[in-house]
């Protein structure tokens, strides 16, 4: 019997952790954090807080239900913090258990481990290739299937068991035109469907969107349509997007080149994610530079402010995060942002009241300074309802355990599954954090 431990991420968007058990052996998938829970408690510092405290606050998964199990492998679907951010806190619970992921993912996870101030993580960490099947115990093997999302080298994780495959989608969209060339491995997905999928564990954050998610190429077109037309006559141009969204950053750099401007990436996390991406050949920084240290940031922004028409600034702060570059600019620091500047938000507003408030404060301040704002030049990285239906029909799984969503999202996924012939409680299971679904 296969058991799916729905450890975390089944009551929220964030802090994902799932465990697949077969015959007493366990494969863990993802160890994420939940940043909005940290935001609620103003005095929390993740790096310095002990695991128990963070679990009590709901900031990282409570893994007590699997802690005494025989864990044979830890896998990461991709490098976003809600999937790898708790590695430094939780991996020590499973000493010596090897950790697997794609190269970009593992390099980011190593960064998390390095910045941890409380624990030492000694687990071996392996970079895995797409397609490679890694035998992690006599009975269990894992496989990373190439998929597209808003960060490079995302994957679906397959746990092969004697009773059939368990497929965890991680976060994904079907992007057939990603400007960086990444494509879903439809061939392998169809093969898995034919081989037989025992359990599908799909993400469900965007299941309520009734149609299909547009390609990243649409975001590229939206950006070009502004920058290469109206933008050509603009003075100061400031774009802001997710620091881990390498494709989006690449598009902005290409656009800067076409405009004859230099792209300047400002902010610690932008430097971090592009740095690793560059190392792996995932981004071309030609015509661009990234600045990180407080001094360099101050210097470069002073320089830019004196010759705005020569630069395209790319900064952190699209959600109005405290301390981010754009937030500080709006506070009157670093750069005299004002009427001459246009800020392009290449990101949506994360629909959480705290985020909305931060973003509102940011926009209000920018508006009071006369800054023009262009919003929503963005497409999502998550599959919508009809994409999920497509996957369901490709994989034709026997059972489904929707993941990565609050109760409403999980039940919306269940509703889709019912449209496709499944029945809640029989072969599609809405679970909660800390519970267990037994697959008979």
């Amino acid at each position: 019997m296969i058991k799916i431990h729905t450890v975390s991420g089944y009551e929220e968007v964030g802090k994902n952790m799932t465990a697949v058990e077969y015959n007493g052996e366990v494969v863990i998938i993802d160890m994420g954090i939940r940043l909005d829970r940290v935001l609620i408690h103003e005095d929390v510092n993740i790096q310095q807080f002990p695991t128990k405290e963070l679990q009590k606050l709901g900031a990282i998964p409570d893994d007590s239900s699997i802690r005494n199990k025989k864990v044979v492998a830890i896998t990461f679907t991709h490098g976003h913090l809600d999937h790898i951010g708790a590695v430094a806190k939780l991996a020590p619970h499973y000493p010596d258990v090897p950790i697997y992921g794609t190269p970009y993912t593992i390099k980011l996870a190593k960064g998390e481990v390095k910045s941890e101030q409380y624990f030492e993580v000694k687990n071996p960490m392996y970079e895995t290739e797409y397609g490679e099947i890694v035998q992690v115990s006599e009975n269990l093997a894992i496989e990373f299937v190439r998929i597209t999302h808003s960060i490079p080298q995302s994957s679906m994780v397959v746990v092969h068991t004697p009773e059939g495959a368990v497929v965890h989608t991680g976060d994904f969209k079907f992007d057939n035109n990603n400007p960086l060339g990444e494509r879903p491995d439809y061939k392998r997905l169809r093969e898995l469907g034919k081989e037989g999928v025992k359990v599908l564990i799909p993400e469900s954050t965007r299941i309520e969107q009734p149609t299909k998610t547009p390609s990243e190429a649409v975001a590229q077109m939206l950006l070009e349509d502004f920058f290469l037309y109206e933008g050509m006559e603009a003075d100061g141009l400031i774009a802001t997007t997710f620091a881990s969204h390498i494709a989006r950053l690449q598009e902005l750099i290409w656009i800067a080149n076409k405009m004859g401007r230099q792209a300047v990436l400002v902010g610690r996390s932008l430097a971090k994610y592009t740095g690793i991406a560059k190392q792996l050949g995932l981004i071309k920084m030609k015509g661009a530079k990234a600045v990180r240290s407080p001094n360099a940031v101050r210097k470069v922004l002073k320089e830019v402010s004196g010759a705005r028409e020569n630069y395209l600034l790319i900064v952190t702060g699209h959600q109005g995060e405290p301390g981010a570059v754009l937030t500080r600019m709006a506070n009157g620091e670093l750069y005299d942002i004002g009427k001459r500047d246009t800020v392009v938000f290449s990101a949506g507003t994360i629909p959480n009241p705290l985020n909305r408030a931060q973003r509102y404060v940011l926009e209000t301040k920018l508006k009071m300074k006369g800054v023009r704002m262009i919003k929503d030049l963005h497409v999502s990285g998550h599959a919508s309802r009809e994409d999920h239906r497509y996957l369901l029909r490709m994989l034709n799984p026997e059972n489904i355990v929707p993941a990565h969503g609050d109760f409403r999202m999980l039940t919306h996924y269940a509703e889709l599954a019912e449209e496709e012939g499944y029945l809640i409680g029989r072969d599609v299971f809405v679970s909660r954090n800390g519970y267990l679904v037994e697959i008979r």
Copy 2:
């Protein structure tokens, strides 16, 4: 010619200030603050900040357009802070000009003046009776018309000029069943309609609600329906509402008496508003007590927590305001709030992203502690669309200048006026902060 200076409150809900000019003489109506603008800038302290700074931040009206006019009177429609909160900052601009309002309003304004740390306010302040007509110059007289709102002794302010009356509604609703017995003075309103109203300046914060605003008696019934049924079996009971909402507080005290519990009002602002109300005979505190000082608060909450079934706590913090009693309880301070407690929100959520975020943080923390919450046992204090239509038909004004609202609200009022035969730009005027409407 009458000129309406739409000084402030014509681009927002908050910081109201209007000036009526006739033949060079000016009557000012209201001097409010806008608290959400202060919230945006974390380091602002209203009491200690100078006027110019606060004006620049958009926290108090920018009165430069009328500052050099001959002001003959300052009037307050009612005692809410968005109508009187800037008195200490702005009244000094008009030295010696007398200030008028109903007794409750003036006493609250004096409180504002007293807590000011920057300026000294020397204007004489007079408590006016409803109906009394005060001649403030040879040409101009003012009159306070009895009306209902969510604070005692609210009034419409009429400026009588040789060209006809200018009626400023202040904030109002038509409450025919207010449990405290306050009623709109329909008779006087109809008389004014017959005498001829040259200009109506109506509030418009709730113009988008398509129907009529229910009586405060409905709020009383909602509260009784919970407390006198489910509440009778509850352990800890904590209600939270607006500190200035004396009728609501009175209802809660009556309910506590019926339940055989003692009402305990906890928090500085609750003590302030009920204190003045009690002094004027506007509230009966029988069976209730209010505690204010930090020590008394700590002591009483300790006492209550040991015998919850004997008390009905009434606390500040319905919007999750930092430092309020309920906010601190949710943080684990003052009282071990938890599964045994029910929190009743006798207030809506103020629809501003910052408020929503604070309220969300509050509710999330209370939920994590297992507290049961009953929300929205509340009715608004503002007239809805059909109430406004009723007023329009009663007063039949020649001209209209909608006030107290953002652009959308003002134009919705204009739309109502057009339904009643007015035309935007001809006899209904959508103005902005700092502009002037000339009535021909």
Copy 3:
């Protein structure tokens, strides 16, 4: 083992039908229709259509899953059509099985049977008293518990089995101040909770409303607040509400009496529901009359239109239903409705696109004629989330099968149950039409 057959009403609001099986014997609860499904197909006539056709259209329950069971009783929770409207089509499937309900409910069901043109219904029909326990087989007994809703004599139906009670709530609210004096039987509900409830089958149409549903007394106050103030000066006054909402109609008649106007109820269904209510002493028609036949309607409306200030018209058509009196008025028939008239909607808009469209057409036409409309003087007859929580705590059931709602509503109920310690799939079951929940 108890089996709950979730025959119908588990994928929609409408056409309710549930069957409780114990040891091969079955009690049926409700046999409703779904009118919006009929609306979609323009050429459907319910009275003349055969059962199979109506089932295929989704207009009445598909009872094939229980048709060959040994049914020992049919019960009706209350007299709304979505609970009794399919009696004439489905009761013949269970010949000779007795039908039980409160007197008002049974009289309405008999009316349905009488107007059927296709089938003859021979089942015996019994009027039951609240509190009476009727033994319907050796093992099973049924009981009707007094509850409040928007139609008189509503009940929860209890099926007593050797393994414990199964409680079906029917449609309900907790109304502690209903102007007609009906009250929930809290005492009996608490007793049942102590005796042990094996399964609760709660309605869930309003589970998404986060607070408590106000008493009908609030609707009365909203109506009085308009009619006894603004209404006193009005010319033509036309109210429209649900024909089966006897309490609301009584309030309108009382109001007409207070205003010195005669209440005239116009329309076939108003006459039907008030006729039976009067017969049972549930409404006092003093100062009112009801007209039904086309000729009488035409005559009375002509009379009223010549002396509008003497009447309060109460008409059908609050949803803009084709053929209803208000709909015809808006089309320029029967009565020259116009600027002199005010239409009071004492009903919400049923949130279905077809209804919205009909209502929109109605309102647009009335607006084009200059009619003033006052909307939403209404409160719901269904329990909100906190009312459901209260019931859960009173009954403390072992298992829950949410009913009367679409997938979203049923899962929202499940979420509430999870907050109270239940777990989906373990002791709270989200089922679908035609399925079966086995209670172990």
Copy 4:
């Protein structure tokens, strides 16, 4: 003095008509109908109804305010019915006055004239080239400026007067990547801005969208992303879009070619619009055919249903319009639509309750038959807020009279104008149907 007669389309989306008057001479811009007003009255037949009746119903403009003026030209911005649909009813009011428009527009207008059954239209109709300036009186000249919208050969209409240009935008978006190659004439717009624009009359239907409207190329990508991936494995494929949206239809034909399927356009209006487009070389029908007559439709659909994998059907009925091909399919006519078919809606839902209801009925029926639906593969043809800002900055007009929208839309445009330094009532004017704005 220039006078702008805001004849119609200033209280709704639909039935546009504006008149520019200078020194007693008038140029009319557009004569549209409002179809939703016709829908409300079920028994209305536009072709057979007289003008007065249609005006009374609000279906066509009430032109009484300009009827006795000296009209020197009638112009059409583009060929949509809400801009040309009343030509046959209203042009006879201005006998012999010449009518101007782009070739596609004029050919469509001639079609309207031909199908009229009540009036004969004798006005001369001229096809105008972009850029050409036509002197229509001694003082007045007109000019058509190339712009992009969702129908070919759309234009902004400029009326050149001795006091400066009046620019009416018609319906427009800024599409820099339209797959058919049409582009906005930015150069001429900038020139006009430099020459001096006295009055701008912008459409405002989409002013509430906060960002920029994506290019039609995005719609093409959305369509390709479905059809060329998932669609390749599908059986029956049915697309539905606006019959006048030639670019969209061209994209669908291209896609069919790429898929190796034949595109079959079914429905009278599809044949009409593509027929004229083909004649003008605006669409390439290679690999496609259009069928129009009832017999041909029946025959081709029978053929397609027997070999679905060979065809891409393109049909009318995206809003569920009664009588449209898709509507009839959903009713079980013409084609046995079912589980094997996927319907792609390349159109949004028009946000009017009647439309919503029709679309709801359509979708419900398709769902009951097991049809898969892919919705919203569509982008709008109307400028969003930031596009409007761009135009404002390009043209820098002295005065603005927002058009083509309800009150809310017009005031939202006014709000944008205020952000750019205008003031409502001073240089931006919110007008209503039948009124006049005098430009001083």
